[in-house]
Amino acid sequence: MSDAKMLLDASDREMSAAYMMWYRYSRKPAAVIGTLIVLSAIAMAVFAPWIAPHPKDVGTVVNFRARHHAPELAHLFGTDQVGRDILSRALFGMRVSLLLVLGVLGISVPVGTVLGLVAGYFGGWVERVITGLTNVMLAMPPLVLALAVSNLLEPTLTNAMLAITLQWWTWHARLIYAVSKSVAAEDYIEAARLSGAGPLHILFREILPNCVSVISVKTTLDAAFVILLGATLSFLGFGVKPPTPDLGSMVAAGRQFMPDYWGEVLCPGAAVLYVTLGFNLLGDGLRDMFDVES
């Protein structure tokens, strides 16, 4: 290690890890903006029934007199083909998107993490089986597999979740596998094993803490991809059942009235973009904060 690098490290020695992370994070305006967007999106989803201007429009309301209104004060995003307030429906649609994220990542992150850790640490046939399985799963385009699965079952939110989750864990498993394998080769893992630590201790107390930063960055960025995938599924007609509002199916509905009422496509589309942008900025910010290589 060069002398200059050592000097840099020596000055780091006097600072706490938390301070260094906070410093890196606060230097990135994009990361702060991302945090605000994600927090606001979560707030919108949670409080949708209270902040939506026309909460009744979420159901099967028909108001033909108000159909295809351009954006105005009463309807900031305009109204759709049966006169429902697009803003209100978009707020509820965000709920669906975030629930999907919660469901997909809530299962695939723990599953992928555990399998990745196990494959990276134990090696041998366990490693071969798990990496082989991920290779096969990754060969199928996620959207195509999700379409096929959700079609065989019934198109509901739960089934869409299931269809995406079926493949999503492999991405995490692959990533954690790579980290786990490199950590497992470190001297401190052998030292722990030599001093009598069991495999559970090594996996979850020694290796896992070294994966936390990678997992949180990946999970945040994945949230954006899951939202995109979910929106695309419902855009193609495999999402939640109407009349439940969903951003993807709202775009699909609006598309029939193009190009005259283009707002009906762009407004729900913009809502998707808003959330995915937030998660992406936040993920990049976390990456800088943890100093993780991409």
Partner: protein, 548 residues
């Protein structure tokens, strides 16, 4: 001093990280006259590399030059327009890079690198030359740095050459333009002792032949004696003293310099270790161990028919260069790796759940989990021994006292500790498991000389207090001479010499042992004269694996 080739005057540099600024160079002034050879010496964090980087113009972004001047041939370089400063590179001075692997782009041939450097140097000087002419000139330079087959070197990718060969190419690169000043930043540090020695000899010879001035950045006092006329000693960003090389090494004026010199283990004369080293009963016996890795065509025998006995209470040293198989032998003897053929017999069986041996690793940076505090790292072996609650707490405090660290350090994370402190924690963790044997895998190789000495002293005291047996693996023969009671030397998977340490050093039998001892950089001329003689033929026979 107007005729100085390089003059550094009152240089001040500070680093800003995470919004905090610290000064790393304070009023650094020295000069290098034409044809003079100067060594800049210091330990980690002394600022020697920062000084070199400031001269070359490659300081990291976090650094700011807050004052002073650097003059090359009388011209101030710090305020030069960038283009003009670029033009000095390779002509006024050349740099010999430190790490020979990362110094080349891995996806381009060595020849491409060399050709491009020469092509643009020619262009700046208005020389027109064809590709073939340049190739001949490059081949000539490569031959000068003792690369016998320039064509093969040029047609190789960096990863296909040995470290020594790459280092030679880097020296060749520095020679392409016939600079007046050669700046060398710890050349060959990553290489084996014998290769490093040859590289130093080569630089020395070329500098003399060309009449170049040399600025050598190093932490190794032995290297200083070999190449320098004058020495500049640095410590924590200050120049401690400057003077004639022999004067400084023989009669340093400053306490810091004296401490630095005293920390170097002597190759001859009285050994630092004074305690009686006893020969006890065998504790581990290895019979005809052989280990092969890989399969079929890629099969490779790392260790061949090695038989060793480790005795209770001794400090056994296994010496060898990288790839000699010494680590593989140690692992097989401790049951961490099963031999392909041969067997290991343990004469002492440890109590249930207690390991016989623990390892202290070479690199303290990777032997502690960065995400766990010192207390958490220490608690693992204690938990395995069934120590709970208050008993565990008390034991942790005992261990910290044993390795001479304050109890308050238990709450710290590894990145908050210095290299020496980390190594102490690693030793404490090894001791926590209450082993009979400690395997010391180059335990001081990554540390500064002065820290090295304190760690070695600690290990010696611990052995006495706890009655441990040490099995040390190292390439550093001068360290082993002072530390080990018995040593064995390995070459390409086989043991070529074995015996009590004083006997081996007094009369090394195998030419490889002699070559290893001869390659150790020493700090006094007396020691240099006492080194065993190695004929060129012997050198060629034993070292063929490391250099070409």
């Amino acid at each position: 001093m107007t005729d100085a080739l390089l003059q550094v005057e009152g240089l001040n540099v500070s680093f800003t990280t995470y919004g905090r600024t610290r000064q790393v160079l304070r009023d650094v002034s020295f000069s290098v006259a034409a044809g003079e050879r100067v060594a800049l010496i210091g330990e980690t964090g002394s600022g020697k590399s920062v000084t070199a980087k400031a001269i070359i113009g490659t300081l990291p972004n976090a650094a700011t030059i807050t004052g002073g001047a650097i003059r090359l041939e009388g011209r101030e370089v710090l305020h030069m327009p960038p283009g003009e400063r670029e033009a000095l590179k390779g002509t006024a001075f050349s740099l010999i890079m430190q790490d020979p692997l990362s110094s080349f782009n891995p996806v381009f041939l060595i020849g491409t690198h060399l050709d491009d450097v020469m092509r643009f140097a020619d262009r700046r000087r208005g020389v027109r030359a064809s590709r073939a002419e340049r190739r001949d000139r490059i081949a000539a330079v490569l031959r000068r740095v003792q690369l016998a087959d320039p064509e093969r070197v040029m047609n190789s990718y960096p990863s296909e050459l040995s470290g020594g060969m790459r280092q030679r190419v880097l020296i060749g690169l520095a020679l392409l333009h016939q600079p007046k000043l050669l700046i060398a930043d710890e050349p060959g540090t990553a290489l084996d002792v014998t290769t490093q020695d040859e590289i130093m000899n080569l630089i020395n010879q070329l500098v003399r032949e060309e009449g170049m001035a040399l600025l050598m950045i190093t932490h190794n006092l032995g290297v200083v004696r070999k190449v320098a006329d004058r020495v500049v000693v640095m410590h924590h960003g200050d120049i401690v003293e400057t003077g004639d090389c022999h004067r400084i090494l023989g009669a340093p004026a400053q306490d810091y310099t004296r401490a630095l010199i005293d920390a170097v283990p002597p190759l001859y004369g009285p050994r630092v270790t004074t305690q009686a080293l006893t020969e006890g009963a065998p504790i581990v016996e290895a019979g005809a161990l052989t280990k092969t890795f890989g399969r079929r065509r890629s099969e490779f025998t790392a260790v061949r028919e090695v038989s060793l006995t480790l005795r209770k209470g001794e400090i056994f040293g296994l010496a060898g260069e990288s790839g000699s198989g010494k680590t593989t032998v140690a692992r097989m003897m401790m049951g961490l790796l099963s031999p392909t053929t041969g067997q290991v017999t343990f004469h002492e069986t440890p109590a249930k759940g207690r390991p016989l041996a623990q390892i202290v690793y070479q690199n303290p940076g990777t032997s502690l989990n960065p995400k766990r505090t010192v207390a958490q790292s220490l608690s693992v072996p204690l938990k395995a021994l069934g120590k709970k609650g208050a008993v565990r707490q008390v034991r942790m405090q005992e261990l910290m006292a044993l390795v001479r660290l304050p109890v308050s350090y238990l709450g710290k994370y590894p990145h908050e500790l210095s290299g020496g402190q980390k190594q102490r924690v690693a030793i404490a963790r090894a001791l926590a498991a209450e082993p009979k044997i400690l395997i010391l895998d180059e335990p001081t190789a990554a540390l500064d000389v002065s820290v090295q000495k304190t760690v070695i002293d600690l290990l010696l005291q611990l052995r006495e207090e706890l009655g441990l047996t040490y099995f040390m693996i190292s390439h550093d023969l001068s360290l082993m001479r002072n530390f080990c009671s018995r040593i064995a030397v390995m070459l390409r998977g086989e043991i070529v010499e074995e015996g009590a340490t004083p006997d081996v050093f007094a009369a090394p039998e195998h030419p490889y042992t002699r070559a290893l001892i001869a390659a150790i950089p020493v700090i006094s001329d007396d020691e240099e004269r006492m080194k065993p003689a190695v004929t060129d033929e012997e050198r060629a026979r034993t070292l063929v694996a490391t250099t070409v």
